[in-house]
């Protein structure tokens, strides 16, 4: 083996800090992730109680700074330098801890001038302060700067350590990003964006007031071996902690035309038989895709932190990938310790565990798609179709009643249209029969369908009546010719009379006389021949 020491170049840092995340808001996730891990340890060791756990996020527009503070265990003075300055060497267990790579905590460096970690450990009467100098880092990383070339060198140059007095019982960890860069102030310091982001991504509780089924979900998983954790996160000292955006009532349809209010009717709790995941999906009327992007889509969470976004689950649908998921609302909590989020946390590492999970989730997604999305889509379209047929039948009926049938051609047309309506009616009927049996159709809808089925039976009679009406509708020229003439000859006759009527529109007397003459001439088939 080669004994030469391997040099890790400084540009490695660049990839970690400047190039790691597409969305700057991700830094919030990274710090909250670390905070929640730390709180878990604190609860486990009895340092704090469940309900005392708190994560405070402060966004300061005046000083352009952000701080995220938790009352977890903190990091002890002995370890602090290594824990906070080693790169990619977290002493965390990837199996239990949310953050485990030890790289996320530097994410903030990309967006600020100084990144300050301040922490105190229970039993230590001081606090450790580690400051990373983002400005200096950028200077050192410039390609024309040859001052330092190894990673270690650079870290030594930009990191400073300090100590401050602290209460011996205090335990906390604060990360402060100072001097948020001009480019990123719009996003990182935008209260609403941050709130929105945290509500979707962070491990926060449901809003029990807006989301009626929250209690049901909480109860379902409380007793579970794989409970999922919820943390109290306060933004800017607000009285109301951050909550997940789920709500009972929402709008479907992206356009005004398709807009419809839908609501969660029940919650279906999901439990993988192998315990790899659990979760829920909302059973709604499935009128269409959910408009509110913060709640739409089945979402994947690990440690109750969102992996990817509202579209990450799309991959499990075999068809209609991008559409299908927008019809659903739900969460899948991944418990399988071997299923690991990738470093971007926008998907999972494609290992064996994930591949096996993928199979199971695909099956699940397909089941949902078929039972709910497709069935409901069919349900809604069938009802609409039925309405259209019904409407058109009434229209034709009225038409005949008020203006009769104007010519045999018109009669043929109407019969043709009636035939087409009848065909689509038969199709609709078949669809209805199939739909009633579908799993995705609940009792209420079944009732609706059964009512329509009854109506459909009546409609059949209406169609027959209409058929009679069309055939029996009095029409001026219908009885002009003896029955021995074929339909073709009749049609020609119709057209001739139609032309005459149009030509002599101002002189109806002449038109009438001409017609009488023609009728006389044609009254006996072949008469003129004998002449």
């Amino acid at each position: 083996m080669n004994s030469r020491e391997i040099v890790v170049g400084k540009s490695t840092l660049e990839t970690l800090t400047l190039g790691m995340y597409k969305n700057p808001l991700v830094v919030y996730r990274e710090y909250i992730q670390n905070s929640s891990d730390s709180i878990d340890h604190a609860i486990k060791t009895g340092l704090i109680k469940d309900n005392e756990a708190l994560i405070k996020v402060n966004v300061n527009h005046k000083t352009h700074s952000i701080s995220i503070e938790d009352n977890g265990t903190g990091v002890s003075g002995k370890e602090v330098y290594n824990v906070l300055c080693d790169i990619g060497n977290a002493r965390k267990d990837y199996r239990t801890d949310r953050g485990f790579r030890g790289i996320g905590r530097l994410g903030g460096l990309a967006y600020c001038e100084r990144l300050i970690f301040k922490t105190s450990y229970h039993g230590e009467d001081y606090a450790s302060i580690i400051t990373w100098d983002g400005v200096a880092l950028k200077g050192l990383l410039r390609p024309d700067n040859h001052e330092s070339s190894s990673l270690g060198d650079v870290v030594h140059k930009i990191v400073s350590q300090d100590v401050a007095e602290e209460d011996i019982d205090a335990h906390y960890f604060v990360v402060t990003m100072q001097g948020i860069s001009v480019h990123h102030r719009g996003t990182l310091l935008h209260d609403n964006d941050v709130k929105q982001y945290l509500s979707e991504v962070a491990p926060v509780p449901y809003d029990h007031q807006q989301f009626m089924h929250a209690l049901e979900i909480d109860d379902a998983f409380k007793a579970e071996e794989h409970r999922f954790d919820q943390y109290k996160i306060i933004l800017n000292d607000s009285a109301i902690p951050i909550k997940k955006p789920y709500k009972t009532s929402f709008i479907t349809g992206n356009q005004e035309r398709t807009k419809q209010r839908d609501n969660v009717k029940e919650i279906k709790i999901l439990n993988d038989e192998k315990g790899r995941y659990s979760g829920w999906i909302a059973i709604t009327n499935f009128y269409g895709n959910i408009r509110d992007q913060s709640i739409r889509g089945i979402r994947l969470r690990k440690g109750n932190i969102l992996i990817g976004d509202s579209t990450t689950f799309n991959q499990f649908f075999l068809a209609e990938k991008d559409v299908a998921n927008t019809w659903f609302m739900g969460e899948i909590f991944i418990h399988d310790p071997e299923v690991i989020p990738n470093s971007q946390r926008d998907d999972f590492e494609p290992n064996d565990a994930f591949i096996s999970l993928k199979e199971s989730l695909t099956e699940l997604a397909e089941k949902f798609r078929k039972e709910y999305r497709r069935d409901m889509s069919e349900y809604n379209s069938t009802i609409k179709q039925f309405g259209n047929i019904e409407k058109r039948l009434i229209e034709i009926k009225d038409e005949i009643k008020t203006s009769g049938v104007s010519s045999d051609q018109n009669r043929e047309q109407l019969l043709k249209e009636k035939e087409n309506l009848e065909k689509s009616h038969q199709k609709t009927k078949q669809k209805l029969t199939k739909l009633v049996e579908k799993k995705g159709i609940d009792e209420d809808k079944k009732q609706v369908l059964e009512n329509i089925q009854q109506k459909a039976e009546c409609l059949e009679k209406d169609i027959i009546d209409l058929e009679n009406d069309i055939i029996d509708a009095p029409y001026s020229t219908k009885c002009d010719l003896p029955s021995s003439y074929s339909k073709d000859v009749r049609k020609v006759y119709e057209r001739i009379i139609a032309v005459i009527d149009a030509y002599f529109a101002q002189d109806k007397e002449t038109a009438k006389n001409l017609r009488i003459k023609i009728i006389e001439e044609l009254s006996v088939k072949g008469k003129s021949k004998k002449k």
Partner: protein
Amino acid sequence: MNQNILLVEPAYKNKYPPLGLMKLSTYHKGRGDNVSFVKGLVPEAKDRIWDRVYVSTLFTFYFDVTVQTIRYYKSSVSSTKDLYVGGILSSLMPGQLKEATGISQVIEGLLTSDKILGYRKNVNIDELVPDYDILDLIDYKYPAGDNYFAYTTRGCPNKCPFCAVPKLEPEFKTTNHIKDQIDAIDSLYGQKRNLLLLDNNVLYSECLDHIVTDIRDSGFSKKASFTYPNMLKVNYERLKKDPGNEMLLHKTLAWLSQFQRKIRRKKDLAQYIQIIDSLSINLNFKNLSAYFQELNDLVSPNIDKSPKRRYVDFNQGLDARLLTDEKMKTLSKIPIRPFRIAFDDLKDTDHYVRAMKTAIRYGVKEFSNYILYNYKDKPEDLWHRLKINMELREELGVEIYSFPMKYIPIGHKNRDFIGEHWNRKYLRAIQSVLLVKKGIVSSRKDFFDKAFGSTLDEYMELLMMPQDLIIYRFHYEGLGITQNWKTLWESLSEVESQKLLEIISKQEFGDKLADLKTNPKLSQILPFYNIRFRSSNHKDQSQQMVIDELL
């Protein structure tokens, strides 16, 4: 004024011609109307406006095709009031037919007066001579088309709940004018060979003696023989009185073309063909008259003059309970063949056997008996009744063909009815056995043992056997597949075989049964029910079609 009349029979495959329409044809021709006849949906006929359209109906399980046909011709009349529907289905379920078609002229029962059709002469159309000529207007050939069709009584005093006769012909009465009926047909259409009588229960008539005598005197004595008439001559005589009858002219030409293969001498044949060719180019009575003598000289010597036996067939069967020695003695004056006695219920065994023996004593040698199943009977009842027939045959040395008739309730719109003790699998098994024999079961012991099992256990096993193993019996027995199936079947417990029956009864044709992982024995036997015989040769393909239809 002359009217244009269209007669329509829906396109189901039926054995007997539409007598109602044939009589309507006679009626309308008598009025001087032009009559056309079609079977099924014919665009050329739809594409005209007729003064009247009549659609006949038959069994209620043909409901859908009947409705379709009626609606197809609805727009071929000026007003829906000019379309009439009549016949068996019309009489049994007029309300539903009216509703499904929008036609109000749905006639119930017999056309005993033309007033029902809005005419005023008060003619009993039911008693008119059927017009056989219209049968030549369509390509479809009725298997039993060329017979006398007549009746001597209407109705039946028995009100068997499974039978439609009480609804169709509620009153029993003797109407006998068989002599006139046969005479009229003879003079109009030439002699027919056999007599099909549509009486429902002729033995109940107090005039049985009279009826039988009339039948005998109309050319159906036991020794009566029959030679086929020269239809050229018969038709020519008719045309002389009615030279403008185009339908008859065409019919004559069609008969002549058919007769071509009977011309024995080559020289004659050439001449014959020449005449037919020129006739067909310019078909009219004048032309036919010109050629008549020449043609007749070619036809006459080639007519089959060998005498044929003629038979009387009481097609609806004879009532075993009423077949006394005395009545049998009367019946024995006429050549009844086949002799039909219904064996509808195993409880009737005593009556049935006694009646059979009575008939045999009077020399009857050939029976063809209806056996109702899928009604209130149990599946094993069918086997017992077939076995009785087999034993009677062995004992008395006569031939007994059994006609198992599957019960379908009156008013049922399709054929998928399952009787209370039956299930779909059993019904299919019976139909599979019948399929091989075209519905008729010989009572020969070897056949019976093979087809239905020599013991009740074998029969019950047969009912469970996969369908294609029944139909292609020798093929699968040869391959050893049948034996494999039997071994597995015999190893099943009572509960398991019940479960198996449950599963296979639900099987639709073409369905593959899924593996039943929960029970290894069942999962072994289920694949046998997925076996589908596929043959490359055409003969079997047509049989395959029959099977497809059967399912």
